[in-house]
Amino acid sequence: MPAARIGVFVCHCGLNIERTVDTHAVAAALAEHPGVTYVSDYDYMCSDPGQRQVIDAIDEHRLTGVVVAACSPAMHEPTFRRAAEEAGLNPYLVEMANIREHCSWVHRDRDNATEKAIRITKTLVEKVKGNHPLDPVRIDHVDKCLVIGGGITGIQAALDVAEAGFQVILVEKEPSIGGHMAQLSETFPTLDCSSCILTPKMVEASRHPNIELLTYSEVIDVSGYVGNYTVRIRRNPTYVDPDKCNLCGECERVCPESTASDFERGLVERKAIYIPFQQAIPSSYTLDENTCLGLRPLRCSECAKVCEPDAIDFDMQPEILEEEVAAIIVATGFELYPILNLGEYGAGDVPDVIDGLQFERLLSASGPTGGEVRRPSDGRIAKRVVFVQCSGSRDPENHNAYCSKICCMYTAKHALLYRHAVPDGEATVFYIDIRSGGKGYEEFIQHATEEERIRYLRGKVARIYRDGDRVVVWGADTLAGKRVEIDADLVVLAMSMDPHPYTERLAKTLKISCGGEGFLKEAHPKLRPVESLSAGIFVAGAGQGPKDIPESVAQGGGAAAKAIGLLAQEKLTHAPEVVSIDEEVCGGCGVCVGMCPYTALSLNGAGVAECNEVLCEGCGTCVSACPTGAAQLKNMTDTQIREMIEVALADV
């Protein structure tokens, strides 16, 4: 390496620095420092004439590095690096010595401040001496985005990315997109019909030229890295050709086999060949191979016989599709906490104890009861309904420790809708306390609590059991301080929200992590809420934590924006101050591999550690952990740090 020719530029910052730091003295002292060939000081280095000085000096004195002793790098590092570039000096050979925020502004004694300024500046000179010219890491990328999960979050994300002009693959493991929102009757706080606002979006997604819809499909493998992920997707056979199926429904009529309907939350049965719900997209029948006789050795094939367009094909095989995508949005959504875990509330043996989504179906005009609140056991209209909030939530001992956030709201909605459906009905709501943060939410709660014949009781329910055809609810009214016993026709448990059961397995496939409760983990709880720790993989919706519809849609949009930002770049660039491995020294102990939160490090075939510069964020944790010194951070090597420490402490 040629001898260092460093230029040091000391800024007065008007009086901000000059008042307490003798900038001439600093310049003079640095002029003596080995490797420094040019020094100057000036009123405002960041001003045009100031930058001009730097540019000219680089040119005239053939500087190999520049140190600007001025303000915090957070302030003007980009400014001077751009200036250097203009003068043909690699920007990574420019460093800022922070003698304002860290010195002149925090000290009064001029001598001491000046001495400290000299020490600070010398450390940066030593750093620059060891710096190498670097170019940003640049990688090509494909122009596709994968969205996993066809609920409202995934649909929103897919539409936004598609609208921005990029290809999207939307993968949904159920036969139809729509997710849980499709099961809802109305939505709080506006009480508009759920499917009325969801269906148009579903249709739009299915029709959008940039969106390829893969329902009844699952992501089984992911490899590669940001910009260039290779994804393998298994498309399960529906045994029905959607293009031929005309929804006549003959097959369903003749099908001899049936099973509990997932969409109707088991309130009714559906046939082995079925369509999840009327507005399902794609609007086509699906043959559920686990229930169908046809796929067993003897073929019943009643459906095929009656299928006029001959859409049924028993020999359909699963397909494995391989796709290249630049970014992945994970919107796997939620599932309700299993009601059977609440034995103390009679769940399981009392048919008239149901969960929130079942109640949504009872309320829904398209539901099994056509919107009439008839209880499962005997189909009688429920005159007295008890709602139990926090069922399975906020109960670290027995159930989920966290608050599921939306239960307060949807319980209020349930109570109100019930009152509309059963004008002479009576609703009781047990709550611990009411959480109604959100636009119009508190007003909505007020509305519900003021409603006649909706009784809010503060307290927990101890036990729920069956007595003849009544459901007895034992609880406590902690405000009145007395026990309460209610004979109910129907009990609705506002169940806690779990991450979808598939979430953890999928996270492993994607090599992203889940938090303690199994929800997808974001890169930073405050600053990077929709990013995972793996570059190019984003998280959104209830899979990341309990959320209501507006939040989920917002996150879907946020994740989409991140993905678009990535797709829109002609090449992906990445800060070059990353880790490099000295292969001569690395013995492949792999200590570094476990250190990296971004899985940037791995052991290659030769048993030597390897850093994927695209993934490395340059924190240097692995460098500290490396027992051989093989791992080094570019432009912040052990040697540089050693030199910096030495001058920081040497006599001035």
Binding site: P73, G620, S624, I641
Partner: protein
């Protein structure tokens, strides 16, 4: 300038993580919060980059104390670098006490970007502590025997 023969003025280096403590120091500056000038700050990307060689190296090169500033637990910009540093510092302090150096000379503090005050207070208290401890014995010990042609 600094007079080696005069009353003891501690020499201290501080390794500050770029995202929290260094920014916290910037905030202290912007807020004009005064503190002693004995500490020379150095910016590292993450407190997780700080290792025993840096700390012991500083003591060997004449530091009377070494301060490490990182993000609060849970806030590390790189997720968990600060946890590793915390463990390293614990072990370094064990080693120091085994060789007769007061472990307080190495100090780890969580300072967020919004804690200008905490940065100031940390500096004031830490410099005082080191002033009380006196010069680090490592600084004085030059192994005459080991000096070439002693």
């Amino acid at each position: 300038m600094s007079d080696p023969t005069g009353p003891f003025e501690p020499r201290i280096v501080a390794f500050l993580c770029r995202w929290c403590s260094y920014a916290g120091a910037d905030l202290a500056g912007v807020s004009r919060l005064q503190y002693p000038p004995n500490v020379v700050p150095m910016r590292v990307n993450c407190s997780g980059r700080v290792d025993a060689e840096m700390v012991l190296g500083a003591l060997e090169k004449g530091a009377d104390g070494v301060l490490i500033g990182g993000c609060h637990p849970g806030d590390c910009h790189y997720v968990s670098g600060n946890y590793k540093t915390r463990r390293r510092v614990a072990l370094i302090q064990r080693a120091l006490s085994e060789i007769g150096i007061d472990p307080q000379r190495v100090h780890l503090e969580w300072i967020s970007a919004s804690e200008g005050n905490k940065f100031q207070q940390t500096m004031i208290q830490y410099v005082e502590r080191i002033r009380d401890l006196g010069p680090c014995p490592v600084v004085e010990a030059t192994p005459a025997e080991a000096a070439p042609d002693g």
